[in-house]
């Protein structure tokens, strides 16, 4: 019965639409009658997104990825992933007559003999650098505002896997031209793999189809680069965005922003237009960069040959931290045991970098466990209001930055007239001590800023206006904050260290003790938000306009 009635009503509407609307209306109706899409449009079109510049960073990453897909598809029309040897006979004179792989030769043809090829290569590569950089900045925003807290922990993990996959995409792409730089990069990977005890050599043989470099690796990396990795990335991006829709977007603390609402603009029409336009802006910036600045001049590097290594051989920036970690290892870190050499210089790097990556990936769960916070959070933290988290983040950034800059130790040495050893030793120190220093400084700065906020809420701004009272005393007039501003300053949640509670058997386990200890460390230094009582007391004593000191 019901189905019949609804169908009738749908037909009625269709007739009505034909009468009233023009082409747009009838086309929309045509599509809706066949897909029932209006429900989805209604739902998504009314979706609210808060407007803040830092919320667009993920979008930048998404758009860079679209640019990469477009330019990459162009490149696949001309690139040939084969390591068969040919003699180059293209337009670039200083490589004429040089034997090279088909992969290198076809990349040279893309660069010099195919119209728009070099531009597309540069668009692809610059967009790739921007992609990972935008992900990195997006991740920092998520971390420092606490957007990873419940219910978004899983989306943090998905995003982080996307970050790793983006690096994998970057590295496989970097290796495809089979030029000197990419071959050197692969050789380092080969060395890393071979440094793993017992299985290393076999894994390397499996990957390269025999001894390095072999004739298989470019073809295999190509399959990963254009098929498997992009497919996983697209699937994960879909999940990532689905979660954003499901969870709704977070918002910064401000007047009227609560855990129960989202203050912002609906997707349709303005936000969608803005976001769509923003895609073209990002595309435009990438095009501009790609048309003005060279990236990866493979014609300088020449074909891969295992013997030469150029000065200034580095990976692209996002692999730099791993390269830097290896540069920071002191020489001679290896030992021989049972007739086998154990390369600590490689194993330590793999373990430390691996631990760092895993820690970042599971950080939301670690913090939730320490704080015991099971509430949902849709209002972001201002970084100062979570001093310990912000300090941990600063320590992580310092650690990463030290490793990262170590990858450019040689460039720093030549350009700042330093010794290479001096640069390396300095960075060794900053890698080990820098995070602690950064932790303490950041935490103190956060606490100081919180104190300042408290002061402002209770006593207002210093207006700079000095007034002489009838008694001869000079006071500075303090301007009270308006209530919109005050909302931002006082609305954050306070935490206390976890209490040790005995379990059902009446015992306190060692795990609970560790947890309580960590919780105390996390929260021991804190500035509590201004309460209503404090506020009314502060303003009750004084006239509304003028409050002294």
């Amino acid at each position: 019965m019901t189905t019949i009635t609804t169908r009738e009503s749908a037909d009625d509407q269709a007739v009505g639409a034909k009468k009233s609307g023009g082409f747009t209306a009838s086309a929309a109706n045509y599509i809706d009658e066949r897909t029932s899409i209006s429900g989805a449009v209604k739902e998504l079109g009314r979706k609210i997104f808060p407007d803040h510049w830092s919320f667009l960073l993920g979008e930048v990453a998404l758009y860079s990825f679209v640019i990469i897909l477009l330019s990459g598809s162009f490149l696949t029309f001309f690139y040939q992933a084969s390591m068969a040897e040919v003699v180059y006979d293209g337009s670039y004179a200083p490589l004429k007559g040089i034997p090279m792989s088909v992969a290198m030769s076809s990349t040279m043809d893309i660069s010099f003999d195919i119209r728009g090829g070099l531009l597309m290569r540069q668009v692809h590569h610059w967009a790739a650098l921007l992609f990972v950089a935008a992900i990195g900045l997006h991740m920092l925003r998520i971390y420092f505002t606490g957007a990873f807290r419940k219910p978004r922990e899983l989306n943090w993990v998905i995003g982080f896997i996307l970050f790793i996959l983006a690096m994998a995409e970057g590295f496989t792409g970097y290796s495809l031209p089979d030029d000197l730089l990419s071959g050197n990069g692969l050789r380092i990977i080969d060395g890393l793999i071979k440094g793993i005890p017992v299985v290393g050599t076999w894994v390397s043989f499996l990957l390269f189809g025999g001894e390095f470099p072999g004739t298989d690796i470019v073809g295999r990396l190509y399959s990963l680069h254009i098929l498997l990795l992009p497919a996983i990335i697209v699937a994960l991006i879909a999940m990532h965005l689905l979660f954003v829709v499901v969870h709704k977007h977070t918002q910064y603390p401000a007047a009227g922003h609560t855990n129960q609402n989202v203050v912002g603009y609906p997707v349709l029409p303005v936000y969608a237009a803005k976001a769509g336009g923003f895609f073209f802006i990002v595309f435009g910036v990438v095009m501009l960069i790609a048309s003005l600045f060279t990236i990866n001049p493979i014609w300088n590097y020449g074909p891969y040959d295992p013997s030469p290594v150029s000065a200034g051989t580095q990976p692209d920036w996002y692999i730099g931290f791993a390269d830097g970690a290896m540069r920071l290892i002191p020489s001679g870190w290896e030992f021989v045991w049972l007739n086998h050499t154990y390369s600590l210089n490689i194993m330590v790097v793999l373990i430390v970098v691996g631990l760092f990556i895993v820690t970042v990936m599971v950080y939301p769960f670690i913090e939730a466990w320490i704080t015991g916070d099971k509430r949902e959070h849709h209002v972001l933290d201002r970084p100062r209001n979570a001093p310990t988290r912000t300090a941990i983040g600063a320590a992580g950034v310092t650690f990463y930055a030290s490793l990262w800059s170590a990858a450019s130790s040689d460039i720093m040495a030549t350009h700042f007239h330093l010794t290479m050893e001096g640069v390396i030793h300095t960075l060794q120190v900053t890698t080990l001590l820098g995070p602690f220093l950064a932790f303490f400084i950041t935490k103190r700065v956060c606490l100081a800023l919180q104190k300042k906020d408290r002061e402002i809420v209770l006593h207002g701004y210093e207006s700079g206006r000095i007034v002489r009272l009838p008694g001869g005393e000079f006071v500075e007039v303090h301007q009270p904050v308006d209530e919109y501003e005050r909302w931002k300053l006082v609305s954050y949640s306070d935490f206390k260290p976890l209490m040790l509670r005995p379990n059902a058997q009446g015992k306190i386990g060692p795990v609970e003790k560790v947890r309580a200890g960590l919780s105390r460390w996390f929260f021991e230094d804190r500035i509590t938000p201004v309460t209503q009582t404090e506020l009314s007391r502060a303003h009750g004593d004084h006239p509304a306009e003028i409050t002294d000191k």
Partner: protein, 270 residues
């Protein structure tokens, strides 16, 4: 004979007093002379050093040496604790070190750095002649060996295999240990590049004619001049420093521009 001569005699009569090709021939002769004079001038330094055996030049060089170099290298170039012996280093070495401004040394340091050249070409030649007169050593290369007229792709391959590990594939320079470095090879004359390979200044190994023939050296110069004369087809080269420069660029200017645009897009209208 006569039959051949008559048509020749007739032609000028038809066209006038001069053959129409005369002006072309005149220009050709003129160009030949100016070009020849230019070649003679440009090779004059090499010529000067070859007949540098003249005692007058050597004496002039000795005086210059005593005034400018002897403090470190010793009065008879025998060397001291401050500087190495120059006996047997040859004219090529002097021409490179003095001609690029590395000598006299600006300051003590990990290695001699380039500075504005201190001596004129004649003075440099005189110094070279003096040092060359002390003992046999590598001579200054002739002009045809330092011209960019070789095989660029052979030179590029040789450069990648023998030079790029210190100087970078595009000749942008690179770091060595303890503050030493391989300098960038931009705007260095072919003659100085050749002499550097031949004599191995500072920390550079010697590439003598046995392990790298003069033709190989010329090919390398040809490649370097090609890179210098042909700007990167991809646009500005960012110093040809590789991924570090690219990474810095995308973070500072690429992402910087994008962030500025996000701020602009989300700005509230007044």
């Amino acid at each position: 004979m006569t039959t051949i001569k008559t048509p020749r005699a007739r032609r000028p009569r038809k066209t006038g007093r001069r053959n129409p090709l005369a002006s072309v021939a005149l220009i050709a002769v003129g160009l030949l002379f100016t070009g020849g004079a230019y070649v003679a001038f440009s090779t004059s330094t090499a010529v000067a050093t070859t007949d540098a055996s003249s005692q007058q030049t050597i004496d002039q060089g000795e005086k210059l040496f005593a005034a400018n170099c002897a403090t470190c290298h010793g009065l008879s170039a025998q060397g001291s604790s401050e500087g190495p012996s120059l006996i047997g280093v040859g004219a090529a070495s002097v021409d490179f070190q003095v001609g690029t401004g590395r000598m006299p040394l600006q300051m003590q340091g990990p290695q001699a750095q380039k500075k504005p050249v201190q001596f004129t070409a004649e003075q440099t030649a005189a110094l070279a002649a003096y040092v060359a007169s002390l003992a046999p050593g590598p001579a200054i290369p002739t002009a045809d060996l330092v011209k960019a007229s070789g095989d660029a792709s052979a030179g590029a391959e040789l450069f990648r295999i023998n030079c790029a590990m210190c100087h970078n594939v595009a000749g942008a320079g690179g770091a060595l240990t303890e503050g030493k470095f391989a300098p960038a090879i931009e705007n260095v004359s072919g003659q100085h590049i050749y002499e550097a390979m031949l004599t191995g200044p500072q920390n550079m190994p010697v590439f003598n004619d046995m392990n790298m023939t003069p033709e190989d050296k010329r090919d390398i110069i040809t490649y370097l001049k090609y890179v210098e004369d042909n700007p990167s087809p991809g646009g500005l080269a960012l110093g040809s420093l590789g991924p570090v420069a690219e990474g810095l660029f995308i973070w500072i200017f690429g992402l910087g521009a994008i962030v500025a645009l996000t701020v602009w897009i989300t700005a509230k209208s007044n």
